[in-house]
Symmetry: C3
Subunit: 454 residues, 3 copies
């Protein structure tokens, strides 16, 4: 079950469908590729870690525990989890999850039956049998998927041991870390002080002063770069940047636990600019994922923790929120800052005009809920006319679901082909330009913008 | 004049066009069905009560009085009102009003001539002649329209006498009330104190204390339920909910007329949660219609009153505004809360992600200005991928214009068929799933979500 | 390179493509038509003044100086500027700039080669050669373009000498001024006090009192009207209107430089209403262009000045912002106020419902970044169903790039034809109504709304 292409769209799709996968941003676990252990079972592979899947069932009254989520959920029989999922398969009609999952079952796992309550057990058994085979281990799949490079997302405090193991293993797969420093930048994070201590221990910098703190961050960035890192990542609710005259004073207040939430927010806004300045120095591409209000369901947060489907987008103000950062470093053409939004109203109103002016800016691909056929169509419709194609950042799959990577890139490639075929049919440009642009959107832009040229 | 369907869309439409009409939310007058009196004349039937019609003429300089609206307007000759309308028929090109009205004239009233300044008098006469016939009385039309159930919207203080009459009349039509308590919840309503007195008189509860007030509301809900009510309704400008520690204190301030507008807003925000909690108890589906700034034209309000075409949508923040209610009752899978928005920017950004997570939530169909071909297309485009179909609430016509009910349901059914045919043509799902989903969107979801299964 | 039309769309386009150009709003320099001097060279004609062009190159790291912009840029060899532009021609794939520029080169300048780095010099030479010919002088082009009327935008303090010259020249072209008073209304403008002095000198009014100030403004409006002016124009960041009880007090504070930014904002909000009231008197159509945050790049502002591609749209609130003005003058059917937005989220949510009610309001065509094929499609999709066609204002090219005027009107006409063909194919209305509406949107509405009937 995926979407059909005809005529010019099909031609364009054929020209890009077999290009290698460039995956510059996502949430795969590097341990998979370091240890190359088999994936456990169909439920833990396809249902339990996928918030797109369990949020939909939860919205229709299925408990997360029944779906294998959380501590209690871990006791649920995986076959029962898979049956519950199959019993509600119809809920996904019209969603990208159904497109992705169908692709995974058919193309990646080679299951020919349609998923249904009746076929659940048979399909569960077939998948289980396959997962035990060597060709379904993580590294074999990585190679089979033709992944040119895969970036993970890692805490600034991570020792990157799995990344080191991968590099030392002799396996040829390119897996690189991404520097995600929010835990040591955000004074409102309950772990902030403990994180600073860890940072101090890791770097031997004196974190008693703001300068030492900056040095520690620089040192961690350099460590990530050594292991192949080319980018950083930030996750923010509402974008705010400002340049503080005396960041040390704020830093000290936060270290003494005397800072207000407003102080924490202002300090974080300052640190985003410091991070951008460090990027000018070390060349790391900066990613900003903004506009998600996290963990809005308090019961789910308390019982099951973060990333359980209760993060909801909010309205964004990029223009004012990003002003201070841009006016400090935005004219530098060597800097790359990629903006990801969940508020599609900002595509044409803010992001496209901003990216069509500021040398440092690129617009990230449709993110999260908008990484879908209609979401991709709206994205192209709303950003290209003002930003052109060259101010985009290609595609990221941004997934924790390793098996879905080919499915997600395939969906994007189909969306690209449809968009470009439409442009050609309207006379906007010819087939040659469409073919060049298709390649750009599929692999070349991602390589360029993330500095991942091989 | 309505919109064309071809191929798969036509097939899907044919499969649903003759399903009965389920009308779970609207503003028809129960008196029509209680008394079964003939409708007065074409102008009072088609022009005077329809704000879609007179707002467009008003926007082009026609006075409301000329259109029969208001006290002075009541003196305007109905034939002259109808002529004025016909003279401006071209203004409606491209609007759903023209689609609905054309359907009403052609299909419901059997008028074969096109409306124009020249045909106005002849058409007026034909309609007048028909309205005098028994088959054009309210009950006969109700039966002819094949209405399975029709919900009206009624003040919490209404004695529901017409509803009682309908039930006792022996006529088989199912007309049910909807509990609309805003007048007794909103401390900013100029009638608030008078309404509380009426509430006290109706229920014999002691409204001197907050508990008595809650009891009175419970009693009224129970009374509505006895007469077939399955839902409540709220109309709000900007959504705000919060759980007050001491609601009685606020209640007392409002009763003494000492509350500020902010107090009234907070109290209303608390009462929405109380209403949701009562819904958990009595099973009434809760409807929230939010985001309309009412009566923005002060002259029109002063001279002609409410609902005269001067209500304008504003930007919404559902995520923060609804947070307190959801975190108190939102995980209850037996509760049904339907959200209606006029800010389409919140479809994909807020409502679809929220309804795709919270067990209690459903997204209402395109409302008011968006109940239109393009509005329906945007709705499906923006909600389905994240919320699926099962988190929607089917269709409501939400109209005061009884004759337009079949026209509005027909427009929705055509929109459903077009959307689903498009999904099939893109390979999203097959014809079988499309047919099932078409039925779901036409009748089944509305029945389920409003608890109107017969 | 422009977009294709087929079948009904092509038929409708053929019916309007050769209608005269009505250009009721734009930024052409009246000097061109007063002096009729040849345009200097291809770079100064096509690249240097076009912020759409240089902002895109700037966003990809090209310096404005290389592009001939600014004082230093003036020293850059125009041929080198043109080569730089041609070298980056591919950046414009998918943008309206490419559509317009291709049209200008092919249709207006008669260049048959495709622009590319290789053809840059040859094309530069061909254009240079043509610019020297009499048929490429401003007046000849004006006639060749079949411009019925062209409005410029002029400071309230302008002596309109070029306009006077045009009228006295005996040339038949109709070029009219537009009254833009922001510099004498906005107390936050650094030139405000100096502008008041100039206003005093020009009018001999006593600007020591608010009444004298109003009289001076009335006098300037009357002067503009004498020279053919039919409209005013305002450019605002966020819309705010309010009626001050004592505007003189605020006026005095601003004159003494004692006003806060908030005072300036409130005073401007009052003056918008005064301007609307004067429009009721003198019949000038009022234009409000709102929602652009100007000069967001401080370095570019300091080094290159205003209008250099760094203006970015922000979210708008028309409903509350415009409330005071509408409630004072909005019911007057003789007043015309045209609203232009850069926040497309307000099309269906605010502007269409407002224009579909208030007699004075009309919705301006897609503006700036949204004056593009997809922007035009979104505009029709989102405004027509609620506002109809008669509450729109036709088209404006709003350009400083004289040569692009036919290209921009052609793009609009193609967009109109596509939209209407789609309406016909969906059965919304027949070909006759589509043809009438096409003409309305191409010329008739602009003439009516701006009072430019010949």
């Amino acid at each position: 079950m995926t979407f059909n292409l005809k005529g010019m769209a099909e031609d364009l799709y054929i020209g890009i469908k077999d290009l290698p996968i460039v995956s510059p941003h996502g949430h795969c676990d590097p341990k998979w590729f370091a240890t190359d252990a088999p994936f456990p079972n169909p439920a833990e592979l396809l249902v339990v870690p996928d918030h797109y899947v369990f949020r939909m069932l939860f919205s229709q009254g299925v408990s997360l525990t029944e779906l294998g989520v959380g501590k209690e959920g871990a006791k649920t029989d995986p076959r029962s989890v898979f049956r519950t999922f199959a019993a509600h398969w119809d809920l996904f009609l019209g969603t990208p999850t159904r497109v992705w999952m169908s692709y995974v079952l058919r193309e990646t796992l080679g299951i020919s039956q349609e998923l249904s309550p009746q076929s659940a057990d048979a399909i569960y058994d077939q998948i289980s049998e396959k997962l035990a085979r060597p060709e379904f281990r993580p590294r074999a799949l990585f190679d089979k998927f033709d992944i040119e490079v895969l970036a993970t997302t890692d805490s600034a405090l991570d020792d990157l041991a799995y990344h080191t193991d991968i590099r030392q293993s002799g396996w040829g797969g390119r897996v690189v870390p991404t520097f995600r420093p929010d835990g040591v930048l955000d004074g409102a994070d309950p772990e902030f002080l403990r994180n600073l201590k860890t940072l101090e221990a890791l770097t031997n910098c004196d974190l008693g002063h703001f300068d030492g703190y900056l040095n520690a961050l620089r040192q961690r960035r350099a460590f990530f770069v050594e292991l192949g890192c080319t980018a950083t990542d930030h996750g923010i609710e509402q974008v705010h940047t400002e340049w503080l005259d005396d960041p040390d004073a704020m830093y000290q207040r936060l270290r003494r636990k005397e800072g207000t939430p407003q102080d924490a927010r202002r300090f974080y806004g300052h640190m985003l600019i410091e991070m951008a300045q460090m990027s000018v120095g070390d060349g790391l591409t900066m990613q900003i994922h903004a506009g998600s209000k996290r963990n809005t369901n308090h019961v789910v947060m308390r019982e099951f923790g973060r990333d359980k489907g209760a993060d909801i987008p909010i309205a964004m103000d990029w223009v004012n929120g990003f002003d201070a950062l841009l006016n400090r470093v935005g004219n530098n053409p060597d800097l790359r800052v990629i903006l990801f939004t969940l508020d599609e109203g900002t595509y044409a109103r803010e992001l496209a005009p901003m990216a069509g002016h500021w040398p440092c800016l690129r617009i990230g691909p449709p993110w999260w809920f908008h990484d879908s056929p209609a979401g991709i169509a709206r994205y192209f419709d709303q950003v290209v006319e003002t930003a052109g194609y060259c101010n985009l950042a290609g595609f990221n799959d941004d997934t924790r679901a390793f098996l879905s990577i080919p499915a997600r890139h395939d969906l994007w490639r189909r969306g690209v082909a449809l968009h470009l075929a439409d442009q050609v049919s309207r006379g906007y440009f010819g087939k040659g330009d469409a073919e060049k642009t298709a390649r750009l959107l599929t692999t070349d832009l991602a390589r360029q913008v993330y500095g991942l040229q091989s």
